[in-house]
Symmetry: C2
Amino acid sequence: MINMKKDETKKKITKATIKLLKEKGYKGTTTREIAEQAGVNELTVFRHFGNKEGIIQAIVKTTSFSLEVFDKSIEWELEKDLTNFGYLLLKDFDNNRDMISIALKDPLIFSQAHEEIIKKINDTKKILKEYFEEMQKKGYIKELDCCTQAEIFLSTYWGYFMYKLNFGDKALHADYQDMIKNSIKTFIKGISLH
Amino acid sequence: MINMKKDETKKKITKATIKLLKEKGYKGTTTREIAEQAGVNELTVFRHFGNKEGIIQAIVKTTSFSLEVFDKSIEWELEKDLTNFGYLLLKDFDNNRDMISIALKDPLIFSQAHEEIIKKINDTKKILKEYFEEMQKKGYIKELDCCTQAEIFLSTYWGYFMYKLNFGDKALHADYQDMIKNSIKTFIKGISLH
DNA sequence: CCTAATGGAAAGTAAATACTTACATTCAGG
DNA sequence: CCTGAATGTAAGTATTTACTTTCCATTAGG
């Protein structure tokens, strides 16, 4: 039961930092603001993390880019699989929304996270591409450029996510269920055999 | 023929500023760096723009969010129209890529540009939605939620653009022609009657 | 060649900001 | 009630950075 208060304080500080980083970026966020937002003394921030850089190190460390397991739930039914994939994708984006927002704002400072995002995109693309190729072999979908098609699928979901991330509800109004349902329906009909 | 040198210098400075803003954001970009990047003395920057804020005012002023005329080129042929629309959209995004990148990095500082982008998105969405509704009336496409469908279309292109903007060629490999061609083909088949 | 417009060099100012030091206070657990 | 861990207060330091001032150099056009 020791150090409980310490951990709470640390969390308050990292949480406040994340909020401010998303709004103003690294350079635009001062340690004083962080302390105010967290409701602690500025000195407390330095006591816990050493320096400003230390806060972001802590944030990066606790952020893991989970690669959701799509592979294992494949049923080789286009609608089921793609719907599942869409849900997992959006959920995954959303789980990492803070880090994505921060890393895209300050790619030089959060270069590691930035690289991880790119890697993640390519991994996901590969999975989807191979799924399309397999479905093509099985004769379930028509002849098409699987790689480009995977990129188009990803773009749609990334675009939806980025709209929401940057503009809240001011740009798009469809909720994510409608978005998934409709996009999958159109997409499936688009790549089906007849 | 007067003031020619002055204008050249101003352009060098705004150009350098744009480059740095895209990389580091407003707070992360110092006037000294701007001067270095522009190849002029730091003082020259202040002579021309008064203060740092003045540079971004100048940048914002010269940036116009053109709303490309899609309306007038409609031919009520799905493939032709959507391909045209896709090209115009990506061209438009690309024309404004600097301002988009900057405004998304510093939405608080470039709030006006940020608002304009949102407005632009909604305008574009409306045009596309009404096009779908009209095509539906004409019986060229099937019954569907035109608004959501417009958002999906926009999301795809926005996503592609944002991938390229943030990750260059490290994420997606399809060039924009392939992307447009394939996405339109799939999309059209998806929303067509049979 | 003269002049006015433009840009540069160097030094400096004032404010903001990351970070420190010394000391006082709170507060939970034994 | 005592103790020690955790936090707060207050004052200060060093550096960065936007911006200024003064003086000097270049250059293009008449």
